[in-house]
Structure formats: C-alpha cells, structure tokens
Symmetry: C2
Subunit: 154 residues, 2 copies
C-alpha cells in the first residue's frame, strides 16, 4: 500500500472529477485564449446559441448550475456586449437571453479555436473513448443524487 496516496490522489469521485476539470479546463482555456473568452463563457454562449432565447432558469437547469451563479457569470458577457436579456412577454418574472450579433460573431471565432482543442483532445484519447466519457459524465450529472435525508415524515 505504499501507493495508497499515489493515484490521482484519492478515491473521492468528486475530487477526481474536479481535478480533471481543472486540468482540462486549463487546456481549453489556453486554446480559447486568443478569443478572449474562457471555456466557461464559451460554453455558456454556445448553450444560449443552440437554445431559442432561453429563460435564465432554463439555461441554469440545462447546465446544472445555480440560477444566481448563472446571473453572475452572465454579467461580464453582457458588459462586453455578447449577450442581452429581455423580459418574457407573457411572464414578466422570466428573463430571456439571446446572443447579440457581436456575440454570434465572437462565438464563431471561438468555435474555430475550440475545435482545435477538441480535436487535439480526441486524438489523444480517441473519439470513441471521449464520447463514452462524456456519456458517463452526463449520466453522473443527471443522477438523482439525494442525501438519504430524513424523508419528510410528515
């Protein structure tokens, strides 16, 4: 057991996941560097792009991220003019989001850089392996994990 601490570093699924995320994140960030976008921003712009003027809550749900976190993350993108928001016509509580022309252009630019990193990665691990990994990650992300908390006895 002289190597009990050698592996990734622990048996914690979460820690292992975060570690990989930091590593891969750095790689994609570097690739996107020239565009001035972080990989997270790129992902967010992309998600908005493929959606139809989604409501913030819809985006947050799709990306499994906290609604307020999404709001914060959106700020720099709005400030830089890549994204704009507007109230839903039927429900004024809802705020919808869309890319500005400038945002679409920036996304196009970033997509070119992203594809290089993506290809680079898939060459290393193999497209099929990558697809399997993504599938596994999606499965994990969508797991209905719930602490065995006291079932609301009432």
């Amino acid at each position: 057991m002289t190597e009990a601490q050698k592996p990734g570093f622990s048996d914690c699924n979460n820690a292992t996941l975060r570690r990989a995320a930091r590593s891969l994140g750095r790689f994609y960030d570097d690739a996107l560097g020239p565009s001035g976008l972080k990989s997270t921003q790129f992902g967010l712009l992309f998600q908005i792009h493929i959606s139809d003027e989604p409501a913030m809550g819809t985006i947050a749900e799709a990306l499994i991220m906290d609604l307020s976190a999404l709001g914060h993350t959106l700020k720099p993108l709005i400030r830089d003019g890549y994204v704009e928001t507007f109230a839903d016509k039927d429900d004024r509580r809802v705020k919808r989001v869309r890319l500005t022309p400038r945002g679409e252009a920036k996304l196009d630019e970033a997509l070119k850089l992203w594809s290089v990193a993506q290809r680079q990665f898939e060459e290393k691990v193999g497209a099929e392996q990558a697809a399997k990994l993504r599938a596994a990650l999606d499965a994990v992300a969508d797991l209905d994990l719930e602490m065995p908390m006291a079932a609301p006895s009432n």
Copy 2:
C-alpha cells in the same frame, strides 16, 4: 437531429466535465454541509493529511491546480485553524503545510460525512463503474495536453 441540443448539452468534453463537476460537487457539498467544509476544502485537507508536510508546490502539482489558487484556497482553512504553514528548513523559499490537531479532528468528522455520500454515489453507479470513471478522469487529468503551439523551433 431534433435532439442535437438535447443531450448533456454539447460535445465539448470540457463543458461536459464541468457540468458533471457542478452536479456532483453540489451532492458532496450537501453531504459535507454539517461539517462546515466544502468538498474542495475537504479534498485539500485530505491531500495534506496523506502527504508528509508537503510544500505548497507539491500539493498544487498533485491536485493539478495553480499555485496561487492553492494559496488562496488555503487562507480560509488557515484562518479557521485547520492548517498551518512553516518554512522549509533547507530552502526558505519553500513553505510547507500541515494540518493542526484541530484540522485532523475536522477531517475525521468530515470523513464520516464524506463516506456516506461516497457510498451513496457508488450504490447508484456501481463501485466498479465509479472506479473506472475515476481511472478515466485521472488519465484525462494527467494527459500531456499541449496546444500544437509553435514548437520552440530552437
């Protein structure tokens, strides 16, 4: 292709990874909640625990995280008295880290909570699947990804 945008959300390995990390992170964070530690802090304390008074750079390398980021993340733990640092005897540039008795105790407390989440997770996906996933993630994390940047021609 009516579902081109339905899956996780994109083919980006990085985005998929981050999404899963947010999801799983929330789960482990909830589990660790009672201890007052975040899953990231738990992971950091654990890493320090299994190491032998590691230098900051050593920890950063093991966790594949930026050295300065580690420094920042360490602050609240130092502030709360779970960790302490001291200069290396031979190289005064090096700062070593160790858990305080209080930190060891807190880690023990957190370990109990963590194991519940860990078990819960492995019950859902299967211990073997989880192990495979961790292996895959470690492999990804340790990949020597490098932008095909101009190879230093010299």
